[in-house]
Amino acid sequence: MIEIKNINKSFGDRKVVNDVSFVFETGKTNIVIGESGSGKTTILKVMVGLHAPDSGVVEYDGRPFTQQSEKEKQEVRKEIGMLFQGGALFDSLTVEQNVAFPLDMFTNMSQEEKNERVNYCLAKVKLEGRNKLFPAELSGGMKKRAALARAIANNPKYLFCDEPNSGLDPKTSLVIDALIKEITQDLGMTTVVITHDMNSVMEIGQKILFIYKGNNWWTGTNKEILTTDNEEILDFVYASEFLKQLKPRK
């Protein structure tokens, strides 16, 4: 369980996150949705400590991450897997070296064990056989998937995914969603997924946080999102002209 309490964050004099509190539950896929630029990535980066919040607390299973020393933070981070919005694969390493990187760093696995684990993770994201390619030789969606494979390689306790589906076709998207849901439940991870994709929200959104202009605007489940009468969230969900016709009327 990851708990954030009263997080505030400004860049310069622009307030980006405004007093957001939420509990991300273990064994569930917790989803953060909101318009582009609403502050989702910023919240995620505050949670993992890449941005220091102006005020507020982040706790990992009771460990007060925000107040911890750099050393203690490193220990928590060894249990974190993160998929960045831009992938952030290491350019100088091949796909398989990227995925093996956390294993090289933090485990004493033999080469065979590592290979096995790498191939398993790559198969999970439908990238089998692409082991020897460099990130520059991958398409945008393939980079995302390779980065996801790296994020889950070392069986993290906490998994953060910043838009795992952007740049993917609907079919591959579903595969990735299913994968995230499956490993979250099977391994009892605490998973936080940022997405724009309403398909994913409905597929795997067991607990949803809707961010509107940096505020915690609405929380609920994927079923509740269909029945809410919150104006902003309805605008978000039923954005297109086509969907507006399906929008439930009050």
């Binding site: 980066k45 490193q74 974190i80 290491f90 933090f106």
Partner: protein
Amino acid sequence: MLLKRVFGKPEKFSMYYKQILYEIDSLGIGSLWLIAIISVFMGGVITIQSAYNFTSPFIPLYAVGLGTRESIVLEFSPTIVSLILAGKVGSNIASEIGTMRISEQIDALEIMGINSAGYLILPKVVAAMFINPFLITISMFLGVLGGYIMGVASGACTSYEYIFGIQSFFIPFNIYYSLTKTVIFAFIITSVSAYHGYYTTGGALEVGKASTRSVVYNSILILVANLVITQLMLV
């Protein structure tokens, strides 16, 4: 601040060791050809110019060989070659680390619980401080050889005089002085450019600026350090 993190305790020694070997190859061996060519030509030019200037009958011609050796060992190889490396290796390091910064690769390392400064910078510093003295020694040798080839070929001096010249009044301490300079310059080149790369913010444009800035700072620092070390060791 950054230095403290650079020299923090590594997460896993074998990974650092692997990186150091990789950097020795890329920073050191990768510069070998450039250094070889420059050294041979500069050695040749120094010889011809010395011979051209030593027209007085009171100066024996073996002074050409002696002068060439001293110029190369004391100044050209350690300082000028380091300045050239500051351009090549320095801009390379700054843009590599800068790109990793703006594409969130450094954040990705941090998230894994890795001391990114240590992992990215320490191997480069260690590799350069280790390999540069070898590069500079090779440069000295090739510079003197280049002087011989061109001096004799251009008729500036005879083979016997040149060889006699480069063997006379040899002071081993000078080599020690040069290699000390080299090691310090290697530290400056790698740490200064890594610093500029590491603190890049923004986009590709800023990476370019960081790389330019690192070459400028490197060159100035090397020249200042050169003066200081020379004052301390030779005077």
